[in-house]
Symmetry: C2
Subunit: 335 residues, 2 copies
C-alpha cells in the first residue's frame, strides 16, 4: 500500500480532530481523505492542509474504495462497522475497546509490538490510553530486565471521556468560580476542583473497574506475557487532556534508577523529564500537545529492600499517544 | 487540666481558621481563647461562638498563662516559639514538621497512639496531613494483621500549601478560563487544570521529596514499627482542600476485602464509602468539611497472588483531620 485512501470515522470528536492533526503534521501519504461522522455533522466542513473537506454521513456503504479507516466513534459503531470496513477491503484501525481482546485482532503499540500488525485480518486495535501511556516507557525496561509486577495509580484527564467531558470540566469550573450551580450531565460526579474513581463499570466480584482491567489485560497481550501481574487504580482528575500515572514496577533482577535512566535515554516515544534540583517532572501542561511520554521521578522503590523495584511518574497526551497518534503510527506501518 | 487557657498561633491561616471552627463545634472546654498572629494581623478580629476576639501580635511573651498552644504558623515559628511556650508552662501542640521526628516529642494520631501523649515534655507534634489521612484507616487493619509494606500515591489539595495556594488555584483557573495570563507566585508550577510533583525539597541521593519521606518516617514512629516499609509518590492536584490517596498494603497473613470491611466498619475516625453499583467512592467534594477519613475501592490487589495485599482509595479533609481537627483531638486528651 503506497498512497492509500484514508477515512476518519468520528472526525468531529476529540480524537477525530487529533487524527487530522497527526495526519497533517506527519505528512501521512494519502490519495484521498474522507471524513465520516453522524448524520448531525453531515455537510459541515473541516480543514486539512489548507483545503476544506466536507463531512459525509457514516453508513455501512462509506468504506468503498477506502484502504485505511481510522475509527474513533465509540465501541458500538466500531463493533458494527469495523467488520463492514474490513469486508469492503479496508484495514480498520480501531480506537475503541470493541476488539482489543479478540485473539484475531492485533493490539499494537508500534514502539513495542509492530510485528503483530502483520497478523491482522482487517482490524487492528489501538490500546486504551492509560495502557499506552504506562507501558510505552516500560517496554524498554522489560526487554532488559523482565517486569514481573506493575502497580499503577492514574491521574486521568477529562479528554478520555470525550470533548463533551472536557467542556463539562471547563463549564462546571467556571460556574464554581462564579458561585453558580452546575448540573453535570456527561460524567457521574461534579468535576470542578474534584476528582473521582474512573467512571467505567465495576466488576462486583473483584471491585475493579473496566479501565483498570484494560490495563491488566492489554499489558499482557501487548507484552505477550500472560504472567505479568498488574494492578491499577484509575482516577479522573480535573485536568483537560493529558494523563499522568504513578508506576511501581518489580523486575526479575535488581535494577537501579541509573539503569532506568540509561535504558530510557534513547527509547522511542519517551522523553525523560527528571530534574530534582529544579523540582521539574512530568506534568499534564507539558505533555499536552506532544507525542512523547514524559518520564520522571525515577527512583528506587524504598519499600522493596531487595532492590528489584523502581517507582516513577509519567505523563502523556491522552488524545495523541494515548489515541490518535498511536493509531496513525500503526497506519504508517501499513503503508 | 479542666478548663485551660488556649492560644491559637497562626490564627488567620488556613489551618488557624479551622482550629477555631473545631474548638467551637466540639465545644472544647476553655477559660480563655487567645488568637495570635503576625504583626500584620494585630488588631483584626475573628468570631468565636458569637463573640469577637481581637488578634494579638505573636511574641515570645504571648504564652504567659496559656495552658495549651495550638501552633500552625510554619516550621520556623514553631522551632523558635514552641520551646518558649513550653518553658512558660504551656503544652504546645504543633502542626509543623519542626519536632515530629524528635525522640523527645510524641507524634500523635489520637485514634492510633493516644498513650504517647503522656510522655510529652511540653511539645506534642501533629503528623503531616498525608500521613494522617493514609494511616488512620490502616491502623485498625495493622492491629489485626500486621502491615509489612505500604505503597501510596497521593492526590493532594492546594490547602496543604496554605490559604495563598488555594487562592492561587482559584485565581489561576479563573484566568485560564478567561484566556488571561497568570503568573504563579505561591507554587512552583502553573496550577490551573494541571498537576505536579509535590513542591517540597528532593533528596538528590534518593529522589524522594520531603513530603514522601514524612510519610515513611512518621508512619514508623506513630505505629511504633521501625520495620514497616513505606514508599510514596506525592502529587499536587487542582483540588482545593481534601487529599486523596491510592494505598496498596501487604499484610503478614492473607487478607480479603471482606476482612477490611469488617475491620473498618466500626473504626474510629473512618467512614466506608464503597458502592460499586452506584460507582460512588471517596471524593474530595465529600471529604471536605468532615472529620472522618472516607475509605473505598477496597479490593484484593490482584498483582499479589498470595492474597496478602489489599488496595484502596481514601479521602480526607487536609485542614480538618489532616491538621486542625487532629490537633484539637490531641488537646482534648490533655483536658
Amino acid at each position: 500500500m503506497s498512497s492509500p485512501n484514508v477515512a476518519v470515522v468520528g472526525a468531529t470528536g476529540a480524537v477525530g480532530v487529533e487524527f487530522l492533526q497527526c495526519l497533517e503534521e506527519r505528512n501521512f501519504p494519502m490519495s484521498e481523505l474522507r471524513l465520516l461522522a453522524s448524520a448531525r455533522s453531515k455537510g459541515k466542513t473541516m480543514k486539512f492542509k489548507g483545503t476544506t473537506i466536507t463531512i459525509e454521513e457514516l453508513t455501512p456503504e462509506s468504506f468503498k474504495g477506502v484502504d485505511i479507516a481510522l475509527f474513533s466513534a465509540g465501541g458500538a459503531i466500531s463493533r458494527e462497522l469495523c467488520p463492514v470496513a474490513a469486508r469492503a477491503g479496508a484495514i480498520a484501525v480501531d480506537n475503541s475497546s470493541a476488539f482489543r481482546m479478540d485473539p484475531n485482532v492485533p493490539l499494537v503499540i508500534p514502539e513495542i509490538n509492530p510485528d503483530a500488525i502483520a497478523g491482522h485480518k482487517g482490524i487492528i486495535a489501538n490500546p486504551n490510553c492509560s495502557t499506552i501511556i504506562a507501558i510505552t516507557p516500560l517496554w524498554p525496561i522489560y526487554k532488559k530486565n523482565r517486569i514481573k509486577r506493575l502497580i499503577a495509580s492514574t491521574y486521568q484527564a477529562a479528554s478520555g471521556a470525550g470533548a463533551a467531558a472536557m467542556e463539562e470540566l471547563r463549564a462546571s469550573t467556571e460556574a464554581y468560580i462564579k458561585g453558580q450551580d452546575y448540573k453535570n450531565t456527561v460524567l457521574p460526579h461534579p468535576y470542578a476542583f474534584n476528582l473521582f474513581s474512573h467512571n467505567s463499570k465495576i466488576d462486583p466480584a473483584t471491585g475493579y473497574n473496566e479501565e483498570e482491567m484494560k490495563m491488566v489485560k492489554e499489558t499482557r497481550k501487548i507484552f505477550g506475557d500472560p504472567d505479568i501481574r498488574v494492578s491499577a487504580t484509575c482516577v479522573r482528575v480535573p485536568v483537560l487532556r493529558a494523563h499522568c500515572e504513578a508506576l511501581t514496577i518489580e523486575c526479575e533482577r535488581p535494577i537501579t534508577p541509573k539503569d532506568v535512566h540509561e535504558i530510557l535515554a534513547d527509547a522511542p516515544g519517551v522523553k525523560i523529564v527528571d530534574d530534582p534540583v529544579k523540582n521539574y517532572f512530568p506534568m499534564p501542561k507539558d505533555a499536552s500537545g506532544q507525542g512523547d511520554i514524559l518520564v520522571g521521578r525515577i527512583r528506587q522503590d524504598i519499600s522493596d529492600p531487595t532492590g528489584h523495584s523502581i517507582t516513577m511518574f509519567v505523563a502523556g497526551d491522552q488524545l495523541l499517544k494515548g489515541a490518535a497518534l498511536n493509531a496513525v503510527q500503526i497506519a504508517e506501518k501499513l503503508v
